[in-house]
C-alpha cells in the first residue's frame, strides 16, 4: 500500500505541476497559436497524470475502469477540438505572429 501511495503522490504532484504550468502558459503566451500549446499540455499531460494517480487509489476495479474510460474520452475529444479550433482560426485569417517565414494574412 505504501508503494501505491508513493506512486500516486508522484503522479498527482507531477500532474498538478503540468496543469499549473499550462495554466500559466495560457495566460503568459503572446498570441493564440502559442496559447494552444499551454492548453494542450494541461488537457493531455496534466489530466492523464492526475487520472493515473487517482487510478492507483481506486477501491475496486469498476472505479479504475471508469477512470480509464474518462481518460480515453478526454484524450480523444480534447486534442480534436484543439485541432478544430486552430483549423477554424486559420480559416478565418489568423496567422501565427511568431512565424517569420510566411507573411501574415491579416496584416
Amino acid at each position: 500500500m505504501i508503494v501505491l501511495d508513493i506512486i500516486s503522490w508522484a503522479l498527482i504532484v507531477s500532474g498538478a505541476f503540468f496543469s499549473i504550468v499550462g495554466g500559466i502558459g495560457i495566460i503568459r503566451f503572446p498570441e493564440f497559436f502559442s496559447r494552444l500549446h499551454g492548453g494542450g499540455i494541461t488537457d493531455t499531460m496534466g489530466a492523464a497524470l492526475i487520472l493515473l494517480g487517482l487510478m492507483f487509489q481506486s477501491p475496486n476495479s469498476l472505479v479504475a475502469i471508469k477512470l480509464v474510460m474518462i481518460l480515453f474520452f478526454l484524450l480523444v475529444t480534447s486534442p480534436s477540438s484543439c485541432h478544430a479550433l486552430s483549423n477554424s482560426a486559420l480559416a478565418q485569417g489568423h496567422w501565427p505572429e511568431l512565424d517569420t517565414t510566411r507573411k501574415s494574412k491579416n496584416k
Binding site: 500532474g15 499550462g22 496559447r35 471508469k66 474518462i70 480534447s78 478544430a84 489568423h94
Partner: protein
C-alpha cells in the same frame, strides 16, 4: 491529503483559464479557455469523488467528458457558419 493537493492545483488552473476567458482578445482564445475549463472540471469532479469517498458518482465526470465535446462543436460551428441550418453534404 493527495486528493486535496490535486483539487487545489486543479482549482488554480481553473482560475487561470477563467482569467484567459475574460481577457481573450479573439473568440478562439475564449473557446480554448472553455475547453480547458471543461477538462479541469472533469478532473475536479474525479478528485471530489475520491475526496468524499463516494466513487460511484464518477458517472458525472464521464458525462461531462462527453458533453464538453458537444458544446465545443456547437460553439465552433456557430463561429464558423453563423447559423445551424445549412446542408452539409
Amino acid at each position: 491529503m493527495m486528493f486535496i493537493v490535486a483539487a487545489i492545483s486543479i482549482l488554480i488552473t481553473m482560475c487561470l483559464a477563467l482569467i484567459r476567458a475574460m481577457l481573450g482578445p479573439t473568440v478562439f482564445d475564449r473557446v480554448l479557455a472553455l475547453n480547458m475549463f471543461g477538462t479541469k472540471t472533469v478532473l475536479l469532479i474525479c478528485a471530489i469523488c475520491f475526496l468524499t469517498d463516494r466513487t460511484d458518482f464518477l458517472d458525472l465526470a464521464l458525462l461531462y467528458s462527453l458533453m464538453n465535446f458537444i458544446g465545443m462543436v456547437a460553439l465552433l460551428r456557430f463561429s464558423h457558419y453563423t447559423s445551424f441550418g445549412e446542408e452539409v453534404s
